[in-house]
Symmetry: C2
Subunit: 418 residues, 2 copies
Amino acid sequence: MALNVQKYGGTSVGSVARIRNVAKRIAKWKAAGHDLVVVPSAMAGETNRLLALAKEIQPHPDPRELDVVASTGEQVTIGLLAMALLELGVPSRSYAGWQVKVLTDAAFTQARIVSIDAERVREDLKQGRVAVIAGFQGVDRAGNVTTLGRGGSDTSAVALAAAFKADECQIFTDVDGVYTADPRIVPEARRLRTITFEEMLEMAGAGSKILQIRSVEFAGKYKVPTRVLSSLTDPMIAVGQEGQSGTLVTFEEDPHMAMEKALVSGVAAQRDEAKVTVRSVPDRPGIAYAILGPIADAGINVDVIVQNVGQDGMTDLSFTVARSDLHRTLKLLKDQVQPHIHCREVSGEDRIAKVSIVGMGMRSHAGIAARMFRTLAEEGINIQMISTSEIKLTVVIDEKYTELAVRVLHRAFELDQE
Amino acid sequence: MALNVQKYGGTSVGSVARIRNVAKRIAKWKAAGHDLVVVPSAMAGETNRLLALAKEIQPHPDPRELDVVASTGEQVTIGLLAMALLELGVPSRSYAGWQVKVLTDAAFTQARIVSIDAERVREDLKQGRVAVIAGFQGVDRAGNVTTLGRGGSDTSAVALAAAFKADECQIFTDVDGVYTADPRIVPEARRLRTITFEEMLEMAGAGSKILQIRSVEFAGKYKVPTRVLSSLTDPMIAVGQEGQSGTLVTFEEDPHMAMEKALVSGVAAQRDEAKVTVRSVPDRPGIAYAILGPIADAGINVDVIVQNVGQDGMTDLSFTVARSDLHRTLKLLKDQVQPHIHCREVSGEDRIAKVSIVGMGMRSHAGIAARMFRTLAEEGINIQMISTSEIKLTVVIDEKYTELAVRVLHRAFELDQE
């Protein structure tokens, strides 16, 4: 008799037939005695349709009004899913973000959850109802509708699980868990039964699209046991195999989990980035800010940043941005930054990939970086940039070697073996 | 410097281009110095799309959840219209029903407005903003989303005009006012510059689809000056011709308006009804209830009801229902009513039309009924049922004579002359 929060993505509720299927799954979980809070996304394609309408009216839509429009996608799904449950005889009630209420800050289109008032829904659960709550949306203190940004339904689900002190937050997607690498690249990749919150965070940052990064942060902050599960497998199997299905995000404090940790848990790759290099800039305090400040002001996200040790009072600065921002970044640097800092050259390269290995074991084991670099060198793969964190090692390489790099690293760290 | 509430129907906001046009109209009204509260419907077709989705999931959708889904149509429009205004440089802000807040009872899909909290919007108006408020929707005391039923945006607009003590509630539609008869039937029909609230109410009941009947009731209850205007004419003309455009619904208390009243203000016809006759029922107390009670219980609306003076202790009862309800009504009468009341016969007729003349002058002038009956008799049109009210005279006739009846009555009461 657990209380579970279940999140279903846009593909899982993408049609009337699929909404009915999700309702059947929920009905079986309910019949097995669980209390359920369900968080569906908008029907696949709906959010894009609404954004397109908005952009037709205003090329840069007003953020407050955009949230009013964009939040309707989830509101349609909660009503339809509640109906599908009622049609199956499962008592159910839907709630929009403002009804629950999911209080956020006022940062329209990328709001952050402040608190959730669980009382009304607790009463529903007590009465045996399944609560269906709109993901992605909330309400600010002034009563304006807000949205949490792309992938925000994951965050809603984790936040609701924290508010209800749920036994588990179950994220149903079209994959059945987190793998040691993308199985399309590495056929022998293994599903991880558990992954620590810190590893999941780095995996999300390294290009794994399984969980939205802010939802992982939230899970970590409130220690929400979060499980990634497939919405495609038979629901009864899933119900029966609780605790074994999917991948559970755990917290290092759990000694049982920590014991079984391998050195490296996974390899991730990301291709949609581009590299920008600013050569021979004066090596003095404030130079990184002089270059990256205007880029941040333009709303461009910078990912990996590497500054070499300078010589002769000059240094090089390289960083990666989303590939779609490359052109804008270069123009901005040439127009607004280069005239002031007198660098020699600004150049861009968009045929790059970012490949990362992630693992809790990296904190306490030496030689992991060396093994990574040697493995790549043996395949003749040149490393263009290196960036490290406590539990992640990232290299930027020529894009054409992406799959090769992922495969050889997967083998080098014996990720195919339990 | 008036405060006007303007309502735009689904066709007026049916596409991005049309939303832009509405925004341009509003911008001109604003530039002319008016304060504006705007109430748009859902984009044409959107409410039907949402209802169809719901019915695919649940043939008889749960009313609470249906309102959650159906109310999103208006929420999309308010956001888009506010964006279109902002794009034109007109300060604007949108509000869903629960934000304003439009408090209703809990009768999902046909809720009635209880109160409106105007404070937040007053502040917007003070700051020079156009407030764009979702029609058709509200929120009940428990915080559930409600809708007002078909045509509910008219009611929302009138209720908001009452709450804000607006100078005028302007209903923009695809006709430029209320006519003495349907101009498609009577080419010489005239637009009425004014119509009393009572007449408008009877016209709505008699088949005129220009204003939803509950919005007229609301206008009467709160004495809201309500004007029907075309959204197709040039906005600058409309702005310049205030007080002359469209048709203004007035209140008899206004002596200036009462003076100029003609005997009859308009002729209306309705074809989508059917006639049911129950013959030779015992003429005793409670018999009408015995027949009509079960019909009301089945949710079937009965319109005209006529019971003849009985003879030999027996009487006939006739009434009209929506044509789409005829089959169900007859089955119900034969199965559940006839066995108990021992009537001789239950019969139905669906090739009928209801033709009405409406006018405040009818209260104080004799001979109007006689003139109506003579006019129809001269054309060989047989009258099947007659029903009268203070300011309306309705006859039920063979459907094929509808246009002829409307034309000859229009002429007989000299409605083509000012």
